[in-house]
Amino acid sequence: MNITLKVWRQAGPKDAGKFETYQHDGIVEEMSFLEMLDVFNEKLLEAGTEPIAFEHDCREGICGSCGCMVNGRAHGPKDGATLCQVHMRSYKDGDTITLEPFRAKAFPILKDLVVDRSAFDSIIQAGGYISVRTGAAQDANMRPVEKAIADEAFDAATCIGCGACVASCPNGSASLFTSAKIAHLNMLPQGEPEKYKRATAMVTAMDDAMFGACSNHEECEATCPKGIGVEYISQMNKNLIWGELFEHDS
């Protein structure tokens, strides 16, 4: 299989960056997308050119390191998959693949396809936890949690923090990311005491980190590799309003 690669090349945070076009041949369909890039990077290296920088680690869809825009879509053509889970059998001979970094005001580009997503950490640091000290817990089965609630909390907690939702949002909003963490914790009885404080603190941190607001485009849900839904965003807003109405500490 032969492919034309159009790749965003940017040497560093302050460089302008531009697309470069390359021909890449000898691709087999069993290769993963990232293995296709590995092989191409080997070619660049042999030619004395600096390889394309891209992030990746676990290569099984769970660490959240990988991802870029592939033909305008975060993580490429497959629903429910990160870029490392895309295989070249999704493409055919002669295709052109355009690769760009995740673009958002809150995600500055560091090099080529690598962006800085540490703004996500600052949102979690603001309140994405239940305040419990090590050693202070009661027996785990003392407080039963309804299975349906535990399962839903789990679904919300499967977010991998990849940033696809932000990159896909016309406003560069982190609402899906933030609301999923709030939903996970606020849904559980353990998370109840800090419910409103958590929502307010995390949303404030999100705004401070230069993420945009949600205006219901729902592009985030469409590209989330973990299938996280926008219903959490409305729950988040409800938490915010209730927090304000009842003047809970924030």
Partner: protein, 638 residues
């Protein structure tokens, strides 16, 4: 010679940890804030240790080479975490978990350490639930359990096939809380490149900022390494691509003993290798063996589709050979059995290696929905990678490098033989002996980080002067200079081949000669061939770009250079240990039935390698192991 006093408490094992905690020195709460601890790594062990140390009042400087602490490879653990809760009323107890773990490790771990691990396992579950980790639950709202290999009770807690992710996010949230409180200073995208010792004590580290390339010194009163295992020595493994031996190897070169490097775990259920371009192998959780049946065609070279092979022409070899444990034998046994079947020509992958893991019976028995509930994400993952649907056809699996039991030698306090230098989680060697049981890595990482190290580190710190913060000491300048010289050297080789090229060569050598089966001639030959790969690396590697910017090739080359050195003690350890135990199978040492045959008389010890200086052969030390509770016997899962 290294000082290998384990400092394990004497007396009854049931009360050993409690008595130890009573007897070790404590740091006064008002003084804790005057001490600073460096923690390198933010996986389960590192994140939990950083959070807990900060909660206690210590200042923590935490480091990860990832862009965020949440990316550490603990995130990929699938199946579960063991704990002796006995919620199933099936006869589990702290003692049984202890017994299973010592036996599962084939009598090559310390009894006291393992007993403590089993004891604190129950606290881990309590704490994680309180943090909001969404474990699987039953309809009554109580926690659910499943079974894992090497145990006859159901003690594994899980969150679908993403238990590691949920536990790591729990530890990451606790860490984030302490970053927010200001007690933890987090350094992302910072790679440890050296340990700094002053007057024999670990007092700091040197890191490279992976974005700017800046080399920086960091001082502290103690240093904790939570930097994971060395499974990527095999190149192809289930480890993330970034996992490496660099931190522990640099610690080794600064005097820390490296124990049992030949104890590596080859996980039986991974997706088989499919071509030369393959960059990693994907694990299919051991939990699948609860319901999946492993088989090969009875006739060698039978490549009909799985569904076309009639029942009477299939060999469910684990059920046949090990009727008691069946498909749930420990990992080392399952892996070796698969290899034996392949060696006899029963592979189900044409031109490659693989056996079937089949869910047809379980789907018939429980229904597709029940199977999807338990394993849905794993089945989806399998389909994504292979294009085959495991609901309709049998999975193909084969063993792959997964975990390393060896690591830095530590005493009962988890301190290496370098005062003030600690190793926790997979980075140490302490609890799993020669084979780790499934769902025990998460347990050990969190035990070390939440419940052991935060107490034991006080014993070292209490008598030390506090607040060491002097990076102007010449030892820092010397370490920085060495780091910079190595970076410059890598950048100046000017060869034509990628670091991956050499990593693959090393991996092939280690997999073939130091993988599932090892022989004296094979290991000797590998030791002869290894230096040539190393030399070729240093004359042929290509590292384009600059050291003063983000340079992934430079990062990779530095890690491969360390693996190329490390491979030597791995091979030598395997060669010297002329017995079979756990994951270390020497073909010369087996029972007539082909099971691992230990030699307790000569090898009932941990082998601890000591750095002797550049170009000099490492020195092998021994820590004798004593078994007072679980008496060594031939491990049998029949």
């Amino acid at each position: 010679m290294l000082d290998l006093n384990s400092r394990c408490p004497d007396g009854p094992i049931e009360t050993a940890w409690d008595r130890h905690r009573q007897s070790i020195k404590l740091v006064n709460p008002a003084n804790k804030r005057k001490y600073t601890v460096i923690v390198v790594g933010t996986g389960l062990a590192g994140a939990s240790a950083s959070a807990t140390l900060a909660e206690l009042g210590y200042n923590v400087k935490a480091f990860t080479f990832h862009d965020s602490p949440r990316r550490a490879h603990s995130i990929a653990a699938q199946g579960g975490i063991n704990a002796a809760k006995n919620y199933q009323n099936d006869g589990d107890s702290v003692y049984r978990l202890f017994y299973d773990t010592v036996k599962g490790g084939d009598f090559r771990s310390r009894e006291q350490n393992v007993y403590r691990l089993a004891q604190v396992s129950v606290d881990i579950i309590d704490h994680c639930v309180a943090q909001g980790v969404p474990f699987a639950r039953e309809y009554g709202g109580l926690l659910a359990n499943r079974s894992f290999g090497g145990a006859l009770v159901s003690r594994t807690f899980y969150a679908a096939g993403q238990t590691g992710q949920q536990l790591l996010l729990g530890a990451y949230s606790a860490l984030s809380k302490e970053i927010n409180s200001g007690k933890v200073k987090m350094h992302n995208r910072s790679e440890l490149l050296d340990i700094v010792k002053i007057d024999g004590h670990a007092k700091g580290i040197v890191t490279r900022d992976l974005v700017t390339g800046e080399v920086t010194s960091h001082a502290a009163d103690a240093v904790v390494l939570a930097t994971g295992g060395y499974g990527n020595a095999f190149f192809l493994s289930t480890n993330a691509r970034g996992c490496n031996v660099t931190a522990t190897w640099r610690a080794y070169k600064r005097g820390a003993g490296f124990a049992n490097p030949c104890f590596t775990q080859i996980h039986p259920t991974c997706i088989p290798v499919m071509g030369d371009h393959q960059s990693k192998l994907t694990l299919m959780s051991e939990s699948l063996r609860n319901d999946g049946r492993v088989w090969v065609p009875k006739k060698a070279g039978d490549f009909r589709k799985a569904r076309d092979i009639p029942e009477n022409e299939r060999d469910y070899y684990l059920e046949r050979i090990y009727p008691t444990f069946g498909n749930l034998v420990p990992r080392d046994v399952a892996s070796r059995s698969a290899k034996k079947m392949i060696d006899k020509g029963h592979s189900v992958v044409q031109g490659g290696s693989g056996v079937y893991l089949d869910f047809a019976d379980a789907i018939k028995r429980l229904g597709k929905d029940a199977i999807a509930e338990k394993y849905g994400n794993l089945f989806d993952m399998y389909k994504q990678i292979t294009g085959d649907n495991p609901y309709e056809t049998a999975m193909k699996i084969y063993p792959a490098s997964h975990y390393t039991m060896g690591g830095l030698w530590v005493d009962y306090n988890l301190m290496t033989n370098v005062p003030g230098l600690y190793a926790i989680g997979e980075a140490n060697f302490s609890d799993h002996g020669a084979n780790r049981l499934g769902a025990s890595a998460l347990m050990q990482g969190l035990a070390d980080g939440y419940f052991v190290l935060p107490y034991t580190i006080g014993d070292y710190l209490a008598p030390q002067p506090h607040g060491f913060d002097d990076t102007s000491h010449p030892a820092f300048a010397e370490a920085e200079a060495q780091v910079k010289a190595k970076t410059d050297k890598l950048l100046s080789v000017g060869g034509k081949k990628s670091a991956d090229h050499f990593h693959k060569k090393l991996g092939k050598l280690i997999w073939e000669e130091c993988g599932m089966a090892r022989t004296e001639p094979g290991l000797k030959s590998a030791l002869e061939r290894l230096p040539a790969i190393r030399e070729e690396f240093w004359s042929q590697v290509s590292v384009p770009g600059s050291g003063a910017a983000l340079n992934q090739q430079l990062e990779k080359a530095g890690r491969v250079a360390d693996f190329l050195e490390f491979g030597e003690i791995m091979l030598r350890d395997a060669l010297t240990r002329n017995e079979s135990c756990g994951g270390h199978f020497r073909e010369e040492s087996q029972t007539p039935e082909g099971e691992a045959l230990r030699d307790d008389e000569n090898f009932q010890h941990g082998a601890v390698w000591e750095y002797a200086g550049e170009g000099k052969p490492s020195i092998r030390n021994e820590e004798a192991l004593e078994f007072k509770y679980v008496l060594p016997s031939q491990r049998s899962y029949k």
